[in-house]
């Protein structure tokens, strides 16, 4: 695992390039920054509307727009490193080979602290990405990334399917992941029926249950909890359930200072 000065981490896909949060003072004190899920080549993203609002949740299908690895390494990564952030790069792709190629190049990039393999893209197939549904596929992807990542720790973000999450966690750690990120979006649909993810407080109880399932099945595996965390009390629930760290995601869209506030609260000791 990556050593963290604070257990609060910015989740993949919700922190922009980092600069947007920093302009608001909202990176101060956080433990690590997870980038949006990067692909080898640039992606413009999917059609609008990309979001719909639901009680206590956001339904989203952005199509994972991103600059591609080259531009990320040339512009976004150096800024994050210069800012003093611990950077975890989230990766996705259309094939096992693409994941491996991205990992190979990240292993040579100065300042990267870890790779998070995003196996939990809820609308992967709709956007031409590898749809990692079977544990066998997940193991393949993780093994390929671990092989190319050299000394970089590899985390695997698995689908927050309560019934299968422990099995998913087992195969990805068997394949070499040092930690499992549990939670994230639930597979959902936009009002017009397009595949999407559901994030926000609505998914928190599911994510929390996933953490307890993985902890119970694999007590030796570090688990990072992610899903609907908006308050310090939420974060403590995950930590109390055995998570080594928490990721704050969708809450940043509502209040960009959420992660920094929770980090400050936790640094201040128990309340």
């Amino acid at each position: 695992m990556i050593d963290l000065a604070n257990p609060v981490v910015v989740a993949a896909g919700c922190g922009g390039t980092g600069r947007e949060l920093d302009a608001l003072g909202a990176l101060d004190g956080i433990g690590a920054f997870t980038t949006r899920s990067l692909t080898l080549n640039a992606r413009t993203g999917g059609p609008v509307p990309r979001f719909a609002e639901t009680p206590s949740g956001l339904v989203h299908s952005t199509g994972l727009p991103g600059p591609g690895l080259e531009i990320f390494l040339a512009t976004e990564l150096p800024w994050l490193v210069a800012r003093g952030m611990r950077v975890v790069v989230s990766v996705t792709g259309a094939s096992v080979a693409e994941h491996a190629e991205v990992a190979r190049r990240l292993a040579q990039a100065p300042g990267v602290r870890g790779i998070e393999v995003d196996l939990a893209v809820p609308d992967a197939r709709a956007h031409g990405l590898l749809d990692v549904r079977e544990p066998f596929h997940a193991a393949n992807v993780v093994a390929a990334v671990v092989r190319e990542a050299q000394d970089l720790p590899v985390l695997a973000k698995v689908r927050s399917d309560v019934l299968r999450v422990a099995e998913s966690a087992r195969v990805v750690t068997d394949a070499g992941a040092v930690a499992v990120v549990v939670g994230g979006p639930q597979a959902a649909a936009l009002p017009d029926g397009r595949p999407a993810g559901l994030s926000g407080p609505a998914v928190l109880p599911l994510a929390l249950r996933c953490v307890t399932e993985v902890r119970a099945a694999l007590p030796g595996v570090p688990v990072v909890g992610c899903g609907g965390i908006t308050t310090t009390a939420d974060a403590r629930s995950f930590l109390d359930a055995g998570a080594v760290a928490v990721q704050v995601g969708a809450a940043l869209l509502h209040d960009p200072t959420t992660a920094a506030r929770i980090a400050a609260d936790l640094a201040g000791g128990p309340s």
Binding site: C14, A23, G25, G45, P49, R50, L58, P65, L253
Partner: protein, 294 residues
Amino acid sequence: MAAPRARRDRVAGDAGVKSPFHTTGEVLASKRVGAFQHLTVVAPGVAERFRPGTFVAVSVDGTRLARRALWIHGVRPVGGHGPALQLVVEPVGPGTRWLAERPVGTRLEVTGPLGRAFALPKEPVATLLVGEGYAAAPLFPLAERLRERGCQVNLLLAAPDERRLLSALEARRSARAATVVTADGSVGRRGSVADVVAGVLAQSAAEVVYAAGPVPTLHAVAAAAEQAGAWSQTAVEQPLACGTGLCHGCPLPVVGEDGVARVVRACTEGPVVRGDRVRWAELAGARPAHGEPA
């Protein structure tokens, strides 16, 4: 771990004053004018940073996660509070209705000012400002700034009907010439911006055109400006979830300065963009009829 940094962007007066601010504001006044609700919100740190064309993102109603982007109609000092934001809301969905119904004293989470402002001409040239509906709001403080620079200000205001015509009286006071068009002819001339913008532009001899309104209106203005050889600056409103550049919910297809087509975020690389840089046909084709948070 990064060394603790001085909050450079928290110190008024230095370069950081341009960066946005996240704070808890308070509704000082709320007034219905026609179809719109005019809110006066004190949000320390936000009003001081305002430039015309920027906007604020506001949280609504407890369990709603998406934020609502509101144009800033102006900044006015309010006794005992310092500068306060004048915001315009058209209550059309659950979030905007919630905002419109807030009593005085309500606390609001406000982030802003966000996005890129209208660029001001270096020379005192003639300008034309074209606005439609509530989106015309940022043109009023822009008119003030332009007049301060010695620019001649002409105004073209449009709306479906009189109830959705923003501040027509104020417009007549602040502009050298003001033209009003409504779709139903309830006030001013009957018609749309697309019908009249070329003629108004020719009459005003404006060298710079500023526009704020729905996409088809902005497209018509940008096209007319290009034909007349004028610069255009358009404030594009896209459905969004955050307003701060994080969610990628407001894609805006443009052609960059380098001639390369790309998709940028309307909230961060916009909302104000050069009219000749937007790929209007793609933007219009991509717009949903409904479904975005309102």
